[in-house]
Amino acid sequence: MSDRLDVLLAQARETEPVDDGFVASVMSDIESLDVVTGSRLAALRRPLVAVTATAVVLTGGAVAALVGTQIVNNDDAGTATSEPRASVSVSSAPEASSGEVGNDARQALATANAERSSAMDGSGHTVSVVDPNTGLRLQTETYTNEFRTGAPQRVTLTLENTSEKPLAITGNKDCSLQVMAFPMGSAAADENQTPADYYNQYRNENGVEWVCAGSGTTPRAPTAVAESVVLRPGATHSSDAMLTLPSDGDWGVMGMCRCEVTEAGAPAPKDNPFGDFTNRVLPSPLVTLDADTGEATLTPPIRVRAKSD
């Protein structure tokens, strides 16, 4: 009987699984872990030539040259906002590829539409979107729906890594986070308009207010300096924009991250001179804008009313 049990046990034994994909996956986790512990920060500081080329690859030429790297902690002081946030985590599905949107993304899009509607009727001053592919969350906070015409008003944009892996966000230095405001008049919110529609409709118009968060400069004259921010899981990174609305009336205020998102620390193939960044570029499913503008993550607009004293 014992021999027959041995035979049975041997027969139940399956071939040991061995594949390089598993090893690569483990090593990717370890690389990410090293990024979190800070022991591999040097990996993000590439030689100038490689960085320039990487920036070109990532942004289609929009940014190039130097890269500054910043690791953001969970308890980053820069994330503080004085008011409790009433944000709803909403996800926006990839409008440009709706044919491939899954059920979760469709649900998220429906939720995003609901939130946009809420923000656009002036009842809320915080909106956010979560990129379902990368887990990057972008929140726009105007703190109020009443702006004073001609006076700068603070708008805070916050990136949060809701994924379980460190994310590297690369964009123009001091201008990867941007705020756009466009005159809405008294038009009702259009449920069929996506953030990208608003963006494409207004970005070339003279009446639009468009500022970089952090530097206050205009995104229309982008700097030639790239910046990378690495967000640990759960970490946030905030930047303020001082937005001045020039005339009375209703405005739509939307935040955007003109950035590329990569999984930080993913092991690069040995023959890849660009290292981590180009190895695991995650496609942004939120919106794909014009070819010359690259990609951006956009929050739905918040309707605010500007009034003179």
Binding site: L5, L8, A12, E16, D19, F22, V23, V26, D29, I30
Partner: protein, 226 residues
């Protein structure tokens, strides 16, 4: 001291006789033994990995992924969850490598982590092994004569038997299940003792008890007295 074999279970090649219970002349199926983990071959690699050398650790992962994943898959009874647990095992190994006592057996230490990870994952997944009596009653009956063809190279027979045996193993209580599966993975008694933090005698008694329980469960297939 010569190179010590870590895994001494699969030193023989199992030869299965197909056709009759008493092994009459028939086709022969040979099952290759799993590759062994050689502690002495691993030692210098482990030392390099302990200094933070990721290339060395990658070599460890490549060497050990087979047994660790096989163990985790059978513990979890799911290949995907098993691979998840194995991946977490290697991650924990990397985190704890610097604290690993060099005098201890690396393989035993690795399997301690693997076992603890699997048990933690099972708790998290609230995956309770299906009782064997339910499994057997739900399973399609073996075709006539299949039970007499242990070692058959017929894929259907082999699949049925593998499923039933794995169900029976999964139904074992801890620590009998993990002890048996580690032994099945190829660990020596000494490694088992170190991995399970118990004397070798306890390992032997646990294995004996695990096999006794399996024999009772599988009596309809293997016959004989429990």
């Amino acid at each position: 001291m010569g190179a010590r074999r870590v895994a001494n279970l699969p030193t023989r090649r199992f030869v299965f006789q197909k056709g009759s219970r008493d092994g009459g002349p028939s086709e022969v199926l040979e099952r290759a033994a799993p590759p062994r983990l050689d502690e002495e071959r691993l030692a210098p690699i482990v030392e390099r990995a302990r200094t933070g050398n990721t290339d060395a650790f990658e070599e460890i992962v490549q060497t050990m992924q087979g047994p660790v994943r096989a163990f985790a898959r059978r513990m979890m009874r799911d290949s995907h969850l098993g691979d998840d647990a194995a991946q977490e095992t290697f991650l924990r190994m990397w985190k704890g490598l610097r604290r690993h006592e060099p005098r201890g057996r690396f393989v035993a230490w690795a399997f301690t982590i693997a076992r603890n990870t699997c048990i933690e994952f099972l708790r998290r997944e609230a995956r309770t092994p299906t009782p064997i009596d339910v499994t057997l009653s739900m399973a399609p009956p073996l075709r006539s004569g299949a039970a007499d063809n242990i070692g058959s190279d017929d894929p259907s027979d082999a699949h049925d038997l593998r499923r039933i045996v794995n169900d029976a193993v999964a139904a074992l209580d801890e620590p009998f299940r993990s002890t048996l599966l580690m032994r099945e993975t190829g660990l020596a008694y000494e490694e088992l003792a170190e991995a399970l933090h118990c004397p070798v005698g306890t390992v032997r008694s646990r294995l004996h008890e695990a096999r006794r329980r399996l024999a009772v469960t599988l009596r309809p297939i293997i016959g004989g007295e429990a």
